[in-house]
């Protein structure tokens, strides 16, 4: 089987009674890298959190399906077990739980009881992946994200991505707060994941991440919808010209949500 398919259809999402997403349509297949771009406040992160099932976000309309299965009916952990992954913009800090214990629990959560990952195999794999991401080895024994710098947190998200090997990953502004060297390292890690078995939705409002990861499809979000889609050339044009030409083309004054087109 050549990877999974995540289908988002006419997705409407509210937070505390305010509609943020107003009908998003996107399909991500295994083997494809999609970039969702757009200025701040256009609903990109809401899309990411809603796909993963953050309890604050209420889905009022539309559907999300993974290989035909209704994702919206699943609990957050079930979504992860079905093959979804979200690299978060602001990962939580959990005191007293080591990074490596957490990672091992996460891997084992997807495996049957009695079929847990052997400890040595886990350690080897984690060591190798940490090397790939140029992460200091002692991070394995530090408490989960506690006292991590912004850059360390982002690398840690990608470490989890690479260890958990999801079918479809959503990366929410994984580039924010990274200097150029760290950005390259993170991009390398993501590029290593490329295969027919892996689909990825990269959310960013900087074009610079896309200098290192070439997306197959680029989407622009404004006012809680995907307003334009294209190939990698769209990202290049955005880099060169910014977003204004799209706003002009579509007659949008204010691109943030809460504004009527």
């Amino acid at each position: 089987m050549a990877g999974s398919t995540l289908e988002i259809k006419d997705l409407h999402v509210e937070i505390e009674g305010e509609e943020i997403l107003k009908g998003v349509n996107l399909t991500i297949n295994g083997g494809e890298f999609h970039a969702v771009m757009g200025p701040n406040g256009t609903g990109k992160s809401t899309l990411a959190s809603a796909i993963m099932g953050h309890p604050k976000y209420e889905i009022t309309k539309g559907e999300v399906k993974l290989d035909g299965e209704d994702v919206l009916e699943m609990e957050v952990d079930e979504r992860a077990q079905a093959g979804l992954f979200l690299a978060m913009q602001y990962p939580s800090e959990i005191s007293g739980v080591t990074n490596s214990d957490f990672l091992r629990s996460s891997i084992n959560a997807r495996r049957e009881e009695g079929d847990e990952i052997p400890l040595m195999k886990f350690i080897k794999e984690m060591d190798a992946t940490m090397d790939d991401l140029e992460i200091d080895k002692n991070m394995a024994q530090r408490y989960l994200n506690e006292g991590f710098s912004g850059g360390e947190k982002k690398r840690n998200e990608i470490l989890q991505l690479m260890m958990l090997k999801p079918a479809i990953a959503v990366l929410d502004e994984i580039d924010s707060g990274l200097d150029i060297d760290a950005l390259k390292v993170v991009a390398n890690g993501i590029n290593k994941m490329r295969s027919d078995e892996f689909g990825c939705l990269i959310i960013t409002h900087y074009q610079r991440l896309l200098d290192y990861i070439t997306p197959d499809h680029v989407h622009v979000m404004m006012q809680g919808r995907v307003v334009k889609s294209g190939g990698p050339e769209l990202a290049q044009r955005l880099e060169a010209e910014g977003y204004d030409w799209i706003k002009d083309e579509l007659g949008i004054d204010d691109e943030t949500v809460g504004q009527k087109a």
């Binding site: 992860a80 992954f85 007293g96 739980v97 629990s105 959560a109 997807r110």
Partner: protein, 465 residues
């Protein structure tokens, strides 16, 4: 429990002398009861007098009006002394199913379950114990139950007994002083380092888990010892009052750590007075885990009497439905350059209530003294309650005091994060709670830490949703 439990065949019930020594005092507390306890134990006259005086003080003192609710505590309903052989008459069938299930879940061997549930009065771990006993004897360490120590080491005993916690200290120390029975007595000679933690658990004495036990520890100059009492298994008792007194003397340059993990049945009032005195450059550490009980009131104290003395209290308290843990610490800085640390971790769930209550006192002589207080509370749901009540008394300007209090809930964001990696809500909550108490569990001897984790997991089951 993960300790070196003996084979089932190795232990026997403690019925051998029942025909001669069955004895149980009448319910309620009278002077006669106190006299009878002393007579049964064949104590010296001075101890009887000590008890009688304490008994009077107990009667004249009012019930504490602070802390937890003691209104339902009825002193007339309590049996104050039961001779060991009598205690063993409870049959296994009388032990509630709930307690048995907990034992099973904790993986405690059956022989040990019976001991813990009070079905067998003796839990013989003779081999292990005797090896250790021999070693200790060679070092000159005295480690025995308090009643035996009174008989065999009377002079030493008398020099220290009741000196750091006089009967008149509070109503419950007066009560304990009047009716005490069992407990541990430890003396560590000068410059002697006891490497292995001493565990009450290994002692062959049915009374060591008693209601009114009395523990007295003397760590002589330059010596060190770690004493561990209790275990994570629920202590099943039909008696509803546990009121112990623990007195510790840490001499110059000596070190003492006292670790307690107790998990009382939820009908028990657990009202314990623990106090240590620390001489110059001595270190006293209380590591105190409070689970179960209906109400716990316990504030381990250190009197920092000598220059440079150090005190620490590291405690956790977990309160569930219908439970109130009113716990904390007291540090009295009475000499220059003394230092203290208080770390209190509380968890409340399902309507439980946790209170941190503490005193840090800096006396006039406490130049250069320092204290650090950290109180963290984790509240698991909206019905549960937490309170932090710190008192600071500062009579010297040249001191430093830091206090940090934090109350947190298991946050939606943390749960979402863990669950987004495939971890179930229950496991995620458990991870957060275990992480919260990790600073405590990492201080425990390994086997206790393992048990503690198992127990917390067990306590957390059914807390979600």
């Amino acid at each position: 429990m993960a300790k070196k439990a003996p084979e089932v065949g190795d232990y026997k019930y403690g019925f051998h002398d029942r025909d001669v020594s069955i004895f149980r005092t009448e319910r309620g507390l009278t002077e006669n009861v106190v006299r009878e306890i002393s007579r049964q134990k064949d104590e010296p006259e001075w101890m009887l007098e000590f008890r009688l005086k304490a008994f009077e003080q107990f009667h004249s003192m009012p019930m504490p009006q602070w802390g937890g609710d003691l209104n339902e505590l009825d002193f007339d309903e309590i049996t104050y002394y039961v001779k060991p052989s009598e205690q063993s008459e409870r049959s296994w069938d009388e032990v509630p199913e709930e307690i048995k299930q907990t034992f099973d879940r904790l993986g405690i061997p059956e022989a040990e379950q019976k001991y813990l549930a009070g079905v067998s009065a003796q839990y013989e771990s003779e081999v292990v114990y005797h090896n250790m006993e021999k070693e200790l004897e060679e070092m000159g360490v005295v480690f025995k139950d308090t009643d035996t120590a009174l008989r065999e080491n009377e002079d030493l005993f008398r020099e220290y007994f009741g000196k750091v916690i006089p009967p008149s200290d509070n109503k419950f120390s007066a009560l304990n002083s009047a009716v005490w029975s069992g407990g541990s007595f430890i003396y560590v000679p000068k410059n002697t380092k006891v490497e292995t933690p001493l565990q009450a658990y290994f002692r062959i004495n049915s009374e060591n888990m008693g209601q009114f036990e009395r523990t007295l520890i003397i760590v002589d100059e330059g010596a060190s010892v770690h004493y561990v009492e209790g275990c994570t298994a629920p202590v099943y008792t039909t008696n509803s009052l546990h009121s112990a007194v623990v007195e510790i003397f840490v001499k110059k340059d000596a070190y003492c750590r006292y670790t307690t993990i107790q998990n009382w049945a939820n009908n028990v009032y657990n009202l314990v007075t623990k106090r240590a005195s620390a001489d110059a450059n001595a270190t006293m550490e209380w590591v105190d885990g409070n689970l179960g009980s209906k109400l716990t009131m316990k504030y381990p104290a250190v009197l920092l009497k000598g220059e440079g003395a150090r005190g620490m209290t590291l405690s956790i308290a977990l309160a569930g439905k219908g439970q109130h843990q009113d716990a904390g610490a007291k540090m009295h800085h009475l000499a220059p350059n003394t230092s203290s640390t208080i770390v209190s971790k509380s968890i409340s769930k399902q309507g439980g209530k946790v209170t941190y209550r503490g005193i840090v006192h800096f006396g006039k002589k406490a130049d250069g003294a320092r204290s650090n207080i950290e109180c963290d509370t984790l509240i698991l749901d909206n019905e549960s309650i937490s309170d932090t009540i710190p008192y600071n008394e500062v009579l010297n300007e040249n001191i430093s005091l830091e206090h940090e209090a934090k109350v947190s809930k298991v946050s939606e964001e943390q749960l979402f994060y863990l669950m987004s990696r495939g971890i179930s809500e229950e496991e995620a909550t458990e991870m957060i709670v275990m992480g919260f108490i990790e600073p405590f569990t990492k201080e425990l001897p390994m086997e206790y830490a393992v048990e503690m984790n198992r127990l917390i997991k067990f306590e957390m089951e059914g807390s979600i949703g």
